[in-house]
Symmetry: none
Subunit: 123 residues, 4 copies
């Protein structure tokens, strides 16, 4: 069983949703180094999407260094140390924050306003 929820109405490409969710699971330590991912055909059947869509997500995960694939064997979570993982997390997080905060600044938001908004959402 894969712990992935796909939304068909969000506008976010399916492969991106899969990529985001599995990345998060690896980065948060919910999936461990060496753990096998489901075979692309199995995942496709389970999620009721095309094999190619799953493959695209797996490819991006491999490119990000979070998994590796072995022809004939399957795909596995990469052997990353705790330090590697937090580095990957900061990378993902930092790239996203750069974009997000550039937009907040463009809207003229003050630091205080942003922090207040975050606190409201984290409570």
């Amino acid at each position: 069983m894969i712990d992935i929820v796909i939304s068909n109405t969000s506008g976010i490409p399916i492969y991106q949703q899969i990529l985001d969710q599995i990345s998060a699971q690896i980065i948060k330590g919910e999936m461990h180094p060496g753990d096998s991912l489901p075979a692309i055909r199995t995942a496709a059947k389970e999620l009721r999407i095309s094999v190619i869509t799953v493959k695209k997500a797996w490819e991006e995960l491999e490119r990000a260094g979070l998994i590796y694939s072995m022809v004939g064997k399957g795909c596995f979570v990469a052997e990353l140390s705790g330090g590697d993982l937090s580095e990957k997390r900061n990378e993902l997080f930092g790239r996203r924050m750069d974009k997000d905060f550039a937009y907040y600044k463009e809207l003229g938001l003050s630091l205080e306003e942003i922090i207040k908004a975050i606190e409201a959402r984290y409570r």
Copy 2:
């Protein structure tokens, strides 16, 4: 002259970039109620993009209630009070933050980590 910068490599649709930047200018009070926007053909020529793309941006701005169009005369910044503007701003900001923070949570980031990252980028 329009104060808009378009990036061809960011991956963000051009109409969206225009929409974002003009929205921000109106919300921040850099453009005032009644100010006229450039004619679609003028803007297209200046930005070296298609008339259709500009038209799409203007349409979205009108739909958001930030401008209004008068047939044969052009487009103008809507007559919004200070209260209306901050409401618009909170709307834009809030919708975006909901998405952003859902993602941060998915990555397992703590409130403290996020605030530290924001402060670093606002300094």
Copy 3:
């Protein structure tokens, strides 16, 4: 017209052949920043291969930072300075040489033998 030759007997994936050849053309300055690549459908028809195979090659080129794509407009050679280009070249070249020379060393070849073999092939 695209200056690409595809071999169906080499065993090298088609998208890789395209990638290699276009990379070389950009790196060698045979294609210039801002030059447009043929539309993927045009290239596919010309090379008598699938649209998807061309797309995969274009994608890898974009990932390598050698081209960028604009939806609705097409794909273009990236704006790289001469310094950027030689950096890309050294990157491609260096990665490949690391692999090649590791193999030569494994076979127990001396530096002199390798240099002699190269000279024979460059004459």
Copy 4:
């Protein structure tokens, strides 16, 4: 004990890795004519790979004339003279160099650049 290191992340097929490493050992004289190779099942167990994969590597080695098999007895390093060995080595090396240098030429590298890069890696 077999002196073979297998990488699961290199992308090179396992049977090819085995083939490369044993070829090198025979060619460099680290394994001698008449030396027996480990039994297929033993090697598979030690390397934690499938029997079929080892069998494929052994078959390729036999095809290359580097080993021979005797039914019921096992596989042995072929009876090759020093001259035979250096011929095999030149064959392996030459085929590989043809490919490698064709690629270097495609990238527009000069003879001097290549030699400099090799020297840096052999130092």
